[in-house]
């Protein structure tokens, strides 16, 4: 097992996709913070455009919502990191990296060199997940640091760190959710043998293009059980990435942590089962 993990970590630091997605994380973070700054300036110029009410439901598309409190001149690091991460930009990169990295072993045929010698081929999934977990953590750190540095450059004295503990707690839950999304991509990549399919699926989920489907499911459940207040977004990794902000309640944090852990576990176990049962092509 440790040998396989070493193998995948060795490949991780040499694969171009790891470097490209990390660089993209930096660029997207800079771009997104600049766009947020533009939003703040527009709101300052036209205060009537400021919406004080958060939307009830998850919206379609990738968007960063500026907090009206930022108009007071003080911008907390945690809140800007929160909105940038909840936008799904980092999740998008995690999805792309995972699909490319996991499928490379099948696409190149390298798996044929090692799979036959393993008693349990499912271990290959654990080693992939470990490498993906390292890369997701690296991208998240790079993303957060870039947001903080760009924020400090743009807003100087108005930008303050705030509660490091809250930021750490938020980042930990988001890390778990991003990892569960990656686990889902591992599953679909292993299932279909196609990085194109899993990547497209992941991008659609991160872009919120699944929202109409989720709304339909919510309406169907509402028709049967109106009092339930069911929202499928609360039970899916992509939904929780969007809904779990730094100021969320303890209940939301707990739900995010539990759903992240449960999905990661389920998808990894399913992937291991497929890898173990299916012949290597």
């Amino acid at each position: 097992m440790f040998n396989l993990i070493k193998m995948d970590l060795y490949r991780l630091v040499r694969t171009p996709s790891a470097l490209i997605t990390a660089v993209m994380a930096v660029l997207l973070a800079v771009f997104s913070v600049f766009m947020t700054d533009t939003d703040i300036q527009l709101m300052q110029e036209d205060p009537s455009s400021v919406s004080t009410e958060a939307p009830d439901e998850r919206q379609m598309g990738i968007y960063v919502e500026a907090d009206p409190e930022w108009l007071t001149g003080k911008i907390e690091a945690g809140s800007i990191v929160s909105v940038e991460m909840r936008s799904g930009l980092l999740a998008l990169l995690c999805v792309i990296f995972t699909a490319v990295f996991v499928n490379a072993e099948h696409r190149s045929g390298f798996i044929k060199n090692i799979a036959g010698q393993l008693h349990s081929r499912g271990k290959l999934i654990i080693s992939k997940l470990t490498a993906v977990a390292v890369q997701v953590l690296f991208m998240m750190i790079v993303f957060i640091l870039t947001v903080l540095i760009t924020g400090f450059i743009l807003w100087g004295g108005s930008f303050y760190i705030g509660s490091a503990a809250s930021l750490f707690k938020f980042a930990a839950i988001q890390y778990l959710l991003h990892l569960s999304l990656s686990a889902m991509i591992i599953f679909f990549t292993v299932l279909t043998g196609s990085s194109a399919f899993s990547m497209t699926l992941g991008i659609l989920l991160c872009s919120g293009l699944s929202v109409p489907v989720y709304s339909l499911i919510n309406k169907l459940v509402y028709n049967f059980r109106p009092g339930l207040g069911f929202d499928i977004n609360k039970f899916l990794p992509d939904g929780n990435i969007t809904l779990t902000g730094i100021d969320a309640s303890a209940e939301v944090f707990l739900r995010g942590a539990v759903s992240g852990a449960v999905y990661a576990l389920i998808f990894i176990l399913l992937s291991m089962l497929i890898m173990q049962k299916r012949d290597v092509r």
Partner: protein, 304 residues
């Protein structure tokens, strides 16, 4: 007899189609086992099952005398190059080997350089695989199969797409490894002429079935130049042959005698038989190549 590898009714079924049907092969240590068969005969599927990449639908195999679940502990003693070499194009040859070494837990210093040298790629270790020729990729694939000093190496069509020089290099490498390290090889190919230069034992596969296994000597005997004689009384014909001084002959079946000497004396033989009242039904000079032998056995002429 102690075999390194034997298969016992190994079967792989896809839907109703049996790609491999109760295949039994027997490989001794030090053999270069040539698995012969046309495209679609089931060679790759058989080799995939032996190398642990595909699960048999039925049957099994024993390796080092171990079978069933016990065999898993010995799978690391098998190196395989199935179909095209599986290589990361963006990594160098040395990095590809390093990955396999890490996975196999091989930590010996200098092993990568040694393996590259073994397959004649010593100077190409830092070159990215995407810039390799097909022959170089094939040799790197063999180097990957050699990681961990396996006792058995399975090579599926290792000379496919190679130019004559590449084929000669691969052949030379295999012969050297077999001789110097006593590595046993199973090599599949549909290029029979080439396989006949390397293999010491042959298994002929057709439509998923192993039709015949034989050593090189047995094959040479079957393919050697000879007179094939069919007479109405085989026993009497043998007596006549001995009377005229022919001793190198064999009764192949109830009607056929194979004569391996005085190949230009067909006329004398028929005269001698006639004078003793034995009727010659058929007499012909035979000289089969491995390909002819294969075609006769499988009853086909195409795509071999």
């Amino acid at each position: 007899m102690e075999y390194l590898l034997t298969t016992n009714g190994l079967t792989k079924q896809y839907g109703r189609h049996k790609a491999v049907n109760a295949a039994d092969i027997h490989v001794k240590r030090g053999d270069i086992y040539g698995l012969i068969g046309r495209n679609g005969a089931g060679k790759t599927t058989l080799l995939k099952m032996i190398s642990g990449l595909a699960k048999p639908t039925d049957g099994g195999f024993s390796f080092f005398g171990k079978s069933g679940k016990e065999v898993y502990g010995y799978m690391s003693r098998i190196g395989a190059l199935i179909e095209a070499p599986g290589l990361y194009p963006n990594l160098s040859a040395a990095q590809n080997l390093k990955l396999k070494c890490l996975a196999a837990g091989v930590r010996r210093n200098g092993i990568i350089e040694e393996l590259l040298g073994t397959v004649g790629l010593a100077s190409a270790g830092k070159k990215k695989v995407r810039n390799f020729s097909l022959g170089m990729k094939q040799r790197l694939g063999i180097a990957l199969a050699l990681v961990g000093d396996p006792d058995l190496i399975i090579l599926d069509e290792p000379i496919n797409g190679l130019d004559p020089q590449g084929i000669a290099e691969v052949r030379e490498t295999l012969a050297r490894l077999n001789k110097e390290k006593n590595i046993t090889f199973i090599i599949s190919s549909h290029i029979l002429e080439e396989l006949s230069k390397t293999a010491t034992v042959y298994g002929i596969m057709h439509n998923g079935v192993i039709l015949q296994e034989m050593t090189r000597d047995e094959l040479l005997e079957k393919c050697s130049e000879r007179i094939e004689l069919k007479a109405d009384d085989t026993a009497m014909a043998c007596t006549v042959l001995e009377k005229i001084g022919i001793t190198e002959y064999k009764v192949a079946d109830a009607d056929t005698i194979q004569i391996f000497e005085r190949l230009n004396d067909s006329g004398d033989i028929t005269s001698a038989l006639a004078s003793d009242g034995i009727k010659t039904l058929e007499i012909s000079l035979k000289n089969e190549s491995l390909e002819d032998y294969y075609l006769n056995l499988t009853g086909g002429k195409s795509d071999v």
